[in-house]
């Protein structure tokens, strides 16, 4: 049937999963079989609850989990996740970790706001951290990103790369978080190429590659040569369409999102990506907890200045010239000379 997706979509690729789906079958997870033990003296335990996207969402849930795995490997912490399958799972799942004596529990995604507030109030001695949403309680640390700033930079790349002066933006759903991407991107394009026209298509679903593909086909057919996606699983369809056009000898570009998507989709069609470094944030905050430096009650906002968003290190498809421009604009944003809009 239709898929459950009452989710925050606090990230572009917030691919929601159906209630029937996605759960960890991670026999490899070493913590799994260990009995619950209070962490007083021994190993520290860090848990995370995903939103409906699940831990393999190729987006922030996955990034967060990768960060925790690194924490396990590098710092010897014991880590574990649980995947939500519906909105009402957030509270019991957060509670599971609290009851199991975890030192820190992550809630990944916009929609954890209510749940985290409730559980954090019920358990003032437990520690929580959140991605993409903020809760003002002494035992909660919140991490937000300035997606509009990173999107501005890829907008610059697109504006300077386009030959047809037609650029597309494919969003998952028309939600404020995704509109932050759109706004930043449009501003970036306009800054370097006022003649270029950005066509916007929200496909209405983070989970429908077929709709993404159809949207991409329509845009490319209409002469757009670059598409920036912020559409979760639907974005796969955009990549598929682009790759097939590439194979048929037509040059079109996609700008990826969240991670360096060229790693997955290759360099044939991936122009660059708008990265959102959830992994770094999760690692950093978790590490602080291990070291006893938890900053409860604080909300950090990660933008270009903090290195929370930006382009990948390597951009083989972007010319040095353009990259130089990107740097210039980056500095202007960091310095505050340019204020990037958050809504289109």
């Amino acid at each position: 049937g239709k898929k459950a997706n009452n989710e925050g979509a606090s990230s572009p690729s917030a691919s929601a999963s159906p209630s029937e789906s996605a759960a960890p079958s991670e026999p490899a997870s070493p913590s799994a079989s260990e009995p619950a033990s209070p962490s007083a003296g021994g190993t520290k335990k860090v848990g995370m609850v995903t939103d409906l996207g699940g831990v393999h969402d190729k987006s922030f849930n996955q990034q967060a989990w990768e960060a925790l795995q690194k924490l396990e490997k590098d710092d010897g912490a014991s880590v574990k996740y649980q995947e939500s399958k519906k909105d009402s799972d957030y509270i019991p799942f957060l509670s599971n970790f609290v009851k199991d004596g975890y030192d820190l529990t992550w809630g990944i995604g916009f929609l954890f706001q209510e749940a985290a507030t409730t559980v954090a109030k019920q358990n003032p001695n437990a520690k929580f951290a959140l991605i993409d949403t903020s809760v003002d309680l002494p035992n909660v640390e919140s991490v937000l990103f300035k997606e509009n700033e990173g999107s501005f930079l890829v907008g610059v790349v697109a504006g300077l790369t386009t030959k047809s002066n037609k650029i597309g933006f494919v969003g998952g759903m028309k939600l404020p978080v995704i509109q932050k991407f759109e706004a930043g991107f449009k501003a970036g394009v306009a800054a370097v190429n006022p003649d270029a026209k950005v066509t916007v298509n929200y496909v209405g679903d983070f989970n429908k590659p077929d709709l993404g593909k159809l949207a991409a086909a329509t845009m490319y057919d209409a002469g757009n040569d670059i598409i920036f996606i912020a559409a979760g699983g639907s974005g796969n369809g955009v990549f598929t369409e682009a790759k097939q056009r590439f194979k048929a000898g037509k040059k079109v570009w996609v700008i990826g999102v969240d991670k360096d998507q060229s790693l997955e989709f290759g360099n044939d069609v991936t122009l660059t990506s708008m990265m959102k470094k959830v992994d770094e944030a999760v690692y950093k905050v978790s590490k602080e907890v291990l070291n006893g430096q938890f900053q409860g009650g604080k909300t950090v906002e990660l933008g270009l200045a903090e290195g929370g968003v930006g382009l990948p290190k390597d951009n083989p498809n972007v010319s040095a010239e353009i990259l130089k421009k990107v740097d210039e604009y980056s500095q202007k944003i960091v310095s505050g000379d340019i204020k990037v809009p958050t809504a289109p």
């Binding site: 159906p18 996605a22 393999h56 590659p209 077929d210 159809l214 057919d221 997955e264």
Partner: protein, 317 residues
Amino acid sequence: MAMLADLINSTLVFSAALIFAALGGVFSERSGVFNIGLEGMMTGGAFAAAIGTYYMQDAGGEGASPWIGVLCGIAAGTLFALLHAYATVSVKADQTIVGVVINILALAITLYLVKFMFEGAGDTPLLDATFAKVAIPGLADIPFIGQALFNNYPTTYLAYVLVPLSAYLLFRTPFGLRLRAVGEHPGAADTVGINVTKYRYVGVLISGALAGLGGATIVLTTTSNFSHNTISGQGFIAIAALIFGRWNPYGVFGAAFFFGLAQALRNFITQFDFAAHIPNEFLYMLPYVLTLLVLAGVVGSVRGPSAAGQPYDPSKR
């Protein structure tokens, strides 16, 4: 004009999977067995197609691998159909329940296997060896029509073939006559010596094969991998197309095309500036509202095969 050709072209990509699955439904329901499980059979097909293609391309069979994938998809769909047929035909279980069960099982089993095979990953790796669009020499050069109809995926061409073939099978051959007789009046078929059980099995198995093909089509032309959301509702839309198309292959083609067109249209509209003033949700609703309006306004009531939904029990009068 070129725009229109592009529009039709995209529509056909989108519709192909629907056509296959709905055609499958035609065979099953014409034989007297409801198939709410099309969604699940598509899921099974999509999964197997992804896996088959993946291992084939790993083994170096780049060129042939999507076709291997197609075959795997068909096989997987058929396998789920076998379960359906056994329960509904042999054991005479409620056809709707079994369909719902197939949907639940297919998704759970495939996801479980994906995680099992790819160390906990939520989806299969991306495939390199998917189908590419092929222009049919000669035909593709016809102005307008060429771009609209003959510059598409092999699966789309397969749909062109399967629709008339199905119609031929159903309406021109002894097989079709018997299959339809079994779906309309199994008692009548039985008394002229037609094996009702056999024909129902065949009907359901064909539906599974075609639904599996539909699932494979989505993977190999659209998503390039399998994940939990590869099939998300297409099976149900196929059921709608099946009814809309009045259990007739050509009707099904028309219905699936209509639905694809409505989807393509909504994307098409976003190319124009006025689209910015239409709330997005209204665009999303467009295909569904259009379908409903057409059904309510034009099509009127439809009647399916009389015996569909009822297990055949010769001793029951």
